[in-house]
């Protein structure tokens, strides 16, 4: 049994490719009871999702006066201003570099470890136990741990780097700051990717690989021609999920290690919404950024579902 989120066609009375009916034939009667049952979720969704999202769209069209007493309708000026703001445009580049680095670093290490663990049939369970628990460490806690290791005053790694003649200072050096938040964000993510890769590898029938081995294919050839193609659905899934993670769930890492600095070199889009809205109190701009992010999440979610649909057709 697999749990899957339905694609856009969900809910119409059709038969899914797997032969499972998308609708029940046996139903209970009543109109008020089901309405009462969906009410709690609909209420919470309306109050905490749609109302704020509507507010964001509304606020993005206004500029409040300096005293916060009234606001003036400015149409799309907030967006126009944002898109011409070099700091905001730079934040897009920062976000792209950050999320791609986090994704490739954590997926690369996870894939390597999963391939090795998969080959050691007897002890793969032990390694799984040893590798999955960092998943439970909050991004913000991971940030504190890495910040401690690289702290310019007491950090043990930065101290040894200093002994080697390298003067580490992520407080002043934007490149080092970016490197540190990437590593700290990728670190906790290895567990997750490892788990999925290992499950994917273990789902490949041994007989297929052994057949190739009998034909004389070496490990690298087997990996390239058989294993990796069979893993590609999972790889693509992880690619999307990790980019979404890097976009939206790494706020804690950035806030604890660099607070977006130095000179906004680690200010990813989500951090900028926070910094401009709560620290800078620029509500119109923050709301416009929220709307742009909404569109981005929308696109990423559609990609994710397109992928799930495609997988159903396999």
């Amino acid at each position: 049994m697999k749990w899957r989120c339905p694609g856009p066609s969900a809910g119409t009375p059709t038969v899914a490719p797997s032969g499972v009916y998308m609708e029940k034939r046996v139903i209970f009667r009543g109109k008020l009871l089901p309405l009462a049952l969906v009410f709690p979720q609909v209420l919470i969704t309306a109050v905490f999702f749609f109302w704020p999202a509507g507010q964001a769209i509304w606020q993005s069209l206004f500029i409040p006066d300096p005293f916060g007493l009234s606001s003036q309708f400015v149409g799309l000026d907030n967006f126009r201003y944002l898109l011409s703001d070099p700091y905001y445009r730079n934040s897009f580049v920062t976000t792209a570099i950050f999320s791609l680095s986090v994704t490739f670093l954590s997926m690369g290490i996870a894939l390597l470890l999963a391939i090795l663990a998969d080959r050691l049939i007897k002890s793969s369970g032990t390694y799984r136990t040893l590798l999955i628990w960092p998943y439970a460490v909050a991004p913000a806690v991971a940030g504190v741990l890495w910040m401690f290791m690289f702290n310019t005053r007491v950090g043990i790694v930065s101290w040894y780097l200093g002994k080697l003649g390298y003067d580490w200072n992520h407080v002043l050096n934007g490149g080092e700051a970016m490197g540190l938040v990437v590593v700290a964000s990728a670190w906790g993510r290895i567990s997750y990717n490892f788990l999925f890769f290992l499950a994917g590898l273990q789902a490949i029938p041994r007989s297929v690989i052994e057949a190739a081995a009998i034909d004389g294919a070496h490990f690298w050839t087997r990996f390239r021609t058989i294993v990796f193609p069979l893993l590609s659905p999972i790889t693509f899934f992880l690619l999307v999920v990790n980019v979404i993670y890097a976009f939206f769930e790494t706020f804690g890492v950035i806030h604890t290690i660099t607070a977006g600095g130095p000179q906004q070199s680690t200010t990813i889009l989500v951090y900028k919404v926070y910094a401009d809205g709560f620290v800078g109190q620029d509500l119109g701009s923050s709301a416009a950024q929220s709307v742009i992010l909404l569109v981005l999440v929308g696109i990423l979610t559609v990609i994710q579902f397109k992928f799930i649909e495609r997988k159903v057709h396999y």
């Binding site: 741990l145 401690f148 087997r222």
Partner: protein, 281 residues
Amino acid sequence: MSGMVEKRGRALWLSHAVLILGVAMICFPIWLAFVASTVSQPEIARPPMPLWPGDQLVENYRKALFAGINAPVSVMLLNSLVMAIGIAIGKIVISLLSAFAIVYFRFPFRMAFFWLIFLTLMLPVEVRIVPTYEVVAGLGLLNSYSGLIFPLIASATATFLFRQFFLTVPDELAEAARIDGASAMRFFRDILLPMSRTNIAALFVILFIYGWNQYLWPLLITTDPSMNTVVMGIKQMFPSGDDIADWPVIMATSILAMLPPVAVVIGMQKLFVRGLLESEK
């Protein structure tokens, strides 16, 4: 068991070596944090810090738990526990109910509600922080458990999981319940809920970790240190300006902050793996 592709000899040891290196590198930051939580402040202030635990463990953890820096960590742990359990149970309850309604009934606006819930997938709290903060402030929920929990319990994922599961439940069961004259809620309570037990448990593990590890939301709405959660409280323990941080206490707090979710992952590994693989696929 050992097929042709099972590696022997040197390749086998190389695999073990690389894996052990990987495990060691992944565990190193946590080991260092643990060591730092067992030594005294001067030992850390003069780098390099020791790599083996010291004798200040009880002292540091007692100081963190009962005195803390802004608030005792025991209070923050309690806040985190309430928040994590509240979010996990809240999400599961509202999702079970709405999935049951959507699968087993035909009622007005059914598909409209379905899409309404579906769309929340696209609205993570990080995207709508300022307006959500204003709504919660307007409702007078700042510095309250309700404010910590309710904005985070609406989720499409859990609803879809239960919907998908209910769709696989054989129709004969509901048919039989109907013929026996059982009410819909009776069927829900006596048949559907017991059948969903494993799914509920797996989801609880995932949602507990999700709730425990929240950072941005508690950071915004808990200005009173006694309402801080432990994950967000750590950053608040750093002094502003040039003062040196109380690293042993901060690291003891970090260890305490990761202990409950890590214990859940290791203790309920089977449920955790199941919950993770199935909730995301």
